[in-house]
C-alpha cells in the first residue's frame, strides 16, 4: 500500500516535470553524432587554414613574400637618416619606445638623443595586477601618452618596439588613434644566439 503511494507520487512528479519541459519547449539533446561530424569538419578546416600566429600578427604568413621584393620603399636605405618628414630629418625625429612584456606595457617618449621626456605605463594608467598585461590597457596607455605628446607640439614620431606581449600591436594602434603620425616601426627586441644561462623553466 505504502509502496503504491510512493509510486503514484513519483509518477505525479515525473508527469509534472514533463509538463514543465513541454511548457518551456526544451528539446532533448542528442549531440554525439553531430559533434563527431563537427570534429571531422574542424580537422579539415584546420588543415586548410593557415597556421596561427603565436604572438604577433603576420608572423607565420610566408606566402606574401613577393611584396618584400617589390616594395623597396618601405625599408630604410643609406639616405634614410636625412630624409625629411614634416620638415624634420628622420634622425632627429622623437622616438616612442614601447617596452612590452607579458605583464605590462611601458611607453616612453624620448628625443633623438635618447633622453626621456615622458613616461607612461599600464600600471600608472590605473590598471593593476593582471589587468596591466592586456591589450586594452596598452591601448589606453598609448592614447594617454599620445595626447600628452601632441600637447607638447610634437606630431611626427618614430616607434621602437621591444619585447613580445599582448600590448605589442595595440600600443602602436593606440598611438595612431591618439593622432600621432607614425613614420616608422622598428623592432629592437634583444635576441642573442649565445645568451647567458636563462632562469629555470616554470613548472607546469
Amino acid at each position: 500500500m505504502f509502496s503504491k503511494q510512493i509510486i503514484s507520487t513519483f509518477q505525479k512528479f515525473t508527469s509534472a516535470q514533463s509538463g514543465l519541459i513541454a511548457n518551456h519547449n526544451v528539446r532533448s539533446l542528442f549531440l554525439t553524432s553531430q559533434r563527431q561530424r563537427e570534429v571531422v569538419d574542424r580537422r579539415e578546416m584546420l588543415r586548410s587554414v593557415p597556421k596561427l600566429d603565436e604572438g604577433s600578427a603576420g608572423e607565420k604568413a610566408f606566402e606574401v613574400d613577393a611584396l618584400i621584393h617589390q616594395k623597396t620603399d618601405i625599408f630604410p636605405d643609406a639616405d634614410t637618416p636625412n630624409r625629411l618628414f614634416n620638415g624634420i630629418p628622420f634622425k632627429n625625429l622623437p622616438i616612442m619606445n614601447i617596452r612590452v612584456s607579458p605583464n605590462n606595457t611601458i611607453i616612453t617618449m624620448t628625443d633623438d638623443k635618447g633622453a626621456v621626456k615622458l613616461l607612461r605605463s599600464c600600471g600608472i594608467e590605473g590598471f593593476k595586477n593582471t589587468r596591466k598585461g592586456t591589450n586594452i590597457a596598452a591601448q589606453a596607455t598609448a592614447i594617454t601618452i599620445g595626447t600628452k605628446v601632441l600637447e607638447r607640439g610634437i606630431k611626427t614620431v618614430r616607434v621602437r618596439v621591444r619585447g613580445l606581449g599582448p600590448g605589442r600591436m595595440s600600443a602602436i594602434k593606440g598611438l595612431q588613434m591618439s593622432g600621432l603620425e607614425i613614420v616608422s616601426i622598428t623592432d629592437s627586441t634583444p635576441v642573442s644566439w649565445n645568451p647567458p644561462r636563462p632562469r629555470k623553466a616554470k613548472k607546469l
Binding site: A57, G58, I68, I74, L164
Partner: protein
C-alpha cells in the same frame, strides 16, 4: 653583432597604414627565426629538451625534403603527354 638602430628591423609606415607595416615587420622577424629564438631563450632548455628538439627538427627536415621531391615529381612539366591516359 650590433646593427645600426633605425636601419635594421625597420619598416616605414605608408599611407598611415600601421597594421600593414606591423605585419611586414612581424613576418620578417618570424621568418628569420628571431621571435622563435627570443621565446626559446626566456627559460633554460634542459639538455634532454635540446636533444629532443634537435632530433625532431632533423626528422621534420628530412620528411619535408622527401615530400617536396614527391610533389615536384607529380607536378613535373617536361612530359611529352601532359595528361597520360587521356584519349
Amino acid at each position: 653583432m650590433r646593427h645600426a638602430s633605425f636601419i635594421a628591423r625597420t619598416v616605414f609606415v605608408q599611407n598611415n597604414d600601421v597594421e600593414a607595416a606591423c605585419r611586414v615587420l612581424n613576418r620578417i622577424l618570424g621568418r628569420e627565426g628571431i621571435l622563435e629564438q627570443y621565446r626559446r631563450t626566456r627559460f633554460f632548455e634542459k639538455p634532454f629538451q635540446f636533444r629532443r628538439r634537435i632530433n625532431f627538427e632533423k626528422c621534420k627536415a628530412i620528411y619535408n625534403e622527401d615530400m617536396d621531391r614527391k610533389i615536384q615529381f607529380v607536378l613535373r612539366k617536361n612530359r611529352t603527354e601532359p595528361f597520360p591516359g587521356n584519349p
